[in-house]
């Protein structure tokens, strides 16, 4: 990716991330997060991760964020002054987060990574074929466990979100059945 594209996009991504944290209105926070996730998909395309970019848009910016927006509207959340901790606490959080960013950034910058640097990418790098072949050979056990995880998550979410029928509701006739 050319620097002329990277730096403006990086600024937009950081602005979106700050929007998630700083917005008082939860709906605006969620939409900022959608924008940030879309921008991350652009990076994935630039990094030759085409399938991951498509999944990012479909799964994250699509499904997960719709779930978030749905819950926000369901809870009828509005801007709440009690949403923030005290300014002193906020300043401490800002300081420690800056420290975290510096330490993480320095550590990542200085780390020698596995594999060979500056080599031409292998044939078919980032294509669905190569990724799928790896998922179904090297990571087969993890892949199969993922299906169990998703099943458990679906069942768990339904059970948790289900309204408990209270005794009063059960005695009352169902609406529309009186006549």
């Amino acid at each position: 990716m050319s620097p002329y594209l990277f730096y403006p996009l990086a600024c937009l991504t950081i602005a979106g991330a700050l929007g998630v944290v700083l917005n008082n209105n939860p709906v605006r926070s969620a939409l900022s997060l959608v924008a940030t996730l879309f921008l991350l998909a652009v990076y994935y395309i630039a990094l030759q991760a085409h399938l991951v970019a498509a999944l990012q848009i479909i799964v994250y910016a699509g499904a997960v964020m719709v779930l978030f927006l749905f819950v926000i509207t369901l809870l009828n959340l509005s801007p709440d002054p009690a949403d923030r901790t005290s300014p002193l606490f906020g300043a401490a959080a800002l300081g420690s987060a800056l420290l975290l960013a510096v330490v993480l950034g320095r550590a990542l910058w200085a780390t020698t990574l596995p594999g060979a640097a500056n080599t031409p990418l292998p044939e078919g790098f980032g294509t669905t074929v190569v990724l799928a072949r790896q998922l179904f050979s090297e990571y087969l056990v993890a892949f199969e466990l993922t299906s169990i995880l998703l099943l458990v998550a679906v069942v768990g979410a339904v059970v948790l979100a289900k309204r408990d029928p209270s005794p009063a509701d059960m005695d009352a006739p169902a609406p529309g059945r009186e006549a």
Partner: protein, 100 residues
């Protein structure tokens, strides 16, 4: 010239912003969104290293992170809904039953 290290630096910044959100905000839904932001920062680091080193494993890991994050979002939001139904609040300071 944009190197993978630039992406790693961006990922560190996004992770730090997400951690601020988790600490500063008291709304459970927004804390949750900040956690998603941190997960995405980690994903960016994985993809950047995969690209820089020609290793496809990084992209496979991102696939798994996305799956776990989707499952976590579904269950977590269901927990928040159940809690809201019982306590009429999503403020993390008001839910202190297990805290002294």
């Amino acid at each position: 010239m944009v190197t993978p290290n630039h992406y790693l630096a961006l990922s560190a910044v996004l992770f730090a912003i997400g951690s601020i959100g988790v600490v500063v905000r008291r709304n459970l839904v927004i804390i949750f969104m900040s956690v998603e932001l941190m997960l995405n920062a980690a994903n960016l680091a994985f993809v950047a290293v995969a690209y820089g080193r020609g290793l496809m494993s990084g992209q496979s890991i991102v696939f798994f992170v996305m799956t776990v994050a989707a499952a976590e979002a579904a269950v977590g939001l269901a927990v928040i809904l159940a809690m809201f139904r019982n306590r009429q609040t999503v403020n993390a300071d008001d839910i202190a039953l297990l805290r002294w």
